[in-house]
Subunit: 308 residues, 2 copies
């Protein structure tokens, strides 16, 4: 089961050649979540060979153009492709107010529902859940109401040890209970501890997306121990004042958050176009937190399964 | 003085990898006109190294998304770049109704004016004019109210023959009149015909943009003798029925228009994604009109000056 994020766009607001504004796709156990949707997202989906039809849930961090101008094009393309299944879009309540009139004008004969799910960006709460994955909000600190998103796999059931189950002659109907951690008592009264019958499954994996935000320590407990953290790193240390003024972060601040939250890996992006060589930002982050990568268009970052 | 069109996007509605929806930039004597503005136009401007600040006039043929979804991103980027000069956008009156609310929401502190010029797409009239260039509308036949645009250089003044002017001792103050075609009578009464004093200048060049449209012969007199014609060619001959139903043209029909209008050169584009090899469409057009090229992203087509 995959758990990987594909970077479709990682630029800050101003486009540069070959770069795109923010958009990512998380493949969490074959659920494809689109995170932010800057202009050109649909072209980038195509280029990265991600099937449009796999996406049913779109999460928009905030209503700055470089995070949502690609929405109307994508919605329109879905219509041309004959989509019929519901499309859920999570974000600030303004999202529907701004995009519903556009949908009405440009896609009058939509054959599928676009369902806007308003999100309270000021508190952390679960906004999506299915049998395998849970998504919750991460309140951020920006010029517009903004939240990040934490994607977490749910605990998996324990793995049955086939030989042990055969040896203790455990009836099949007992297995669902045992997979959940239950012990077994045979009809003769033999007590068999669960740990003799099962192995623990791989621990759930997690991904946190935090863009755009000023340095915001209050997110640390929300993302504690996260496997992979994307945190914006718009500015260099030397432009800290600018970061403050614009409610963005420096690369060092992104790394500090990763360190404090015990993240396993950090991805940084949303670099200001003022830096010709963004390795400057990478190195600033590495001074604080070693496992950092730049998120670049086309990159795929995976969190592998851990078999303990 | 250049007269050339750069193709930024030439795809039909559905995006494919590396292709963009319709957008072109015409450089007419150093005036840069943006024609249509599909999603990703600003990235394509960047890629093709066209300075954003050179564009002051944008012409939108119609309000299908693949011809205008890039507008809001471009307007927003202009704002971030600190633009102060007026931006004129010509198109159907709905354009302002649809885009003004978006501008208000996403670019609340715009430091420049976006001036929407409503266009009556049902008649041919001059909608822009300066000292060197004139732009007029070409009513087209599509599912939404649509017009093409004809860009024409104005007649240039005749070139002075320096030796002749010296020989006849023509005073400097007479030259502006003579450049306009006037004859010269000296103070002694000598009559000098204009053709002895001047050479004709290069004839004005012209470019017609016609997308999207069903086969529409009524445009022929409007574009008679045009130097370069872009005409959509969405379908192959074998899909003529589909062309009828969707109010698009076949490649042969585009060529037929070029032939009837005595166009010097034809560009075709807006190909349906159903054709794996678009040379099929090129060849169908070539069967009728020889000087055809496919308009592909990054292509620059120039109409050179003719010195008769």
């Amino acid at each position: 089961m995959q758990f990987s994020v594909t970077i479709l766009g990682s630029n800050s607001a101003l486009p540069t050649s070959g770069k795109y504004p923010t958009a990512q796709v998380l493949n969490a156990s074959e659920r494809f979540f689109l995170i932010d949707c800057g202009e050109g997202t649909q072209m980038q989906l195509r280029k990265n060979r991600i099937k449009f039809s796999r996406i049913n849930h779109i999460f928009i961090s905030h209503l700055h153009g470089d995070h949502c101008f690609g929405l109307i094009g994508l919605i329109s393309t879905y219509s041309l492709l004959g989509r019929t299944s519901d499309l859920y879009i999570y974000g600030h309540s303004d999202l529907e107010a701004v995009f519903a009139p556009q949908i009405k004008y440009f896609c009058p004969n939509l054959k599928y529902n676009v369902i806007f799910i308003p999100v309270d960006v000021e508190k952390s709460e679960v906004i999506f859940e299915d049998s395998a994955v849970e998504v919750s909000t991460i309140p951020l600190l920006h010029r517009k109401p903004t939240c990040g998103f934490l994607f977490k796999e749910k605990e998996r059931e324990r793995h049955i040890i086939r030989d042990a189950v055969d040896y203790y002659k455990v009836p099949v109907k007992e297995l669902p209970r045992i997979k959940k951690g239950g012990d077994y008592i045979s009809w003769e009264g033999t007590f068999v501890k669960n740990s003799l019958l099962t192995k623990p499954s791989s621990p759930p994996r997690s991904y946190a997306f935090c863009s755009d935000t000023a340095f915001c320590e209050s997110i640390v407990p929300l993302i504690e121990g996260v496997d992979m953290l994307y945190h914006e790193a718009t500015f260099s240390l030397s432009d800290k004042k600018l970061a403050r003024e614009t409610f963005h972060s420096t690369a060092s601040e992104a790394a500090e958050i990763a360190l404090k939250a015990n993240a396993k890996k950090l991805l940084i992006g949303h670099f200001s176009t003022r830096y010709k060589d963004t390795n400057l930002l990478l190195n600033e982050a590495k001074n604080i937190f070693s496992n950092v990568s730049k998120a670049t268009e086309g990159d795929i970052f995976e969190v592998p399964l851990k078999f303990p």
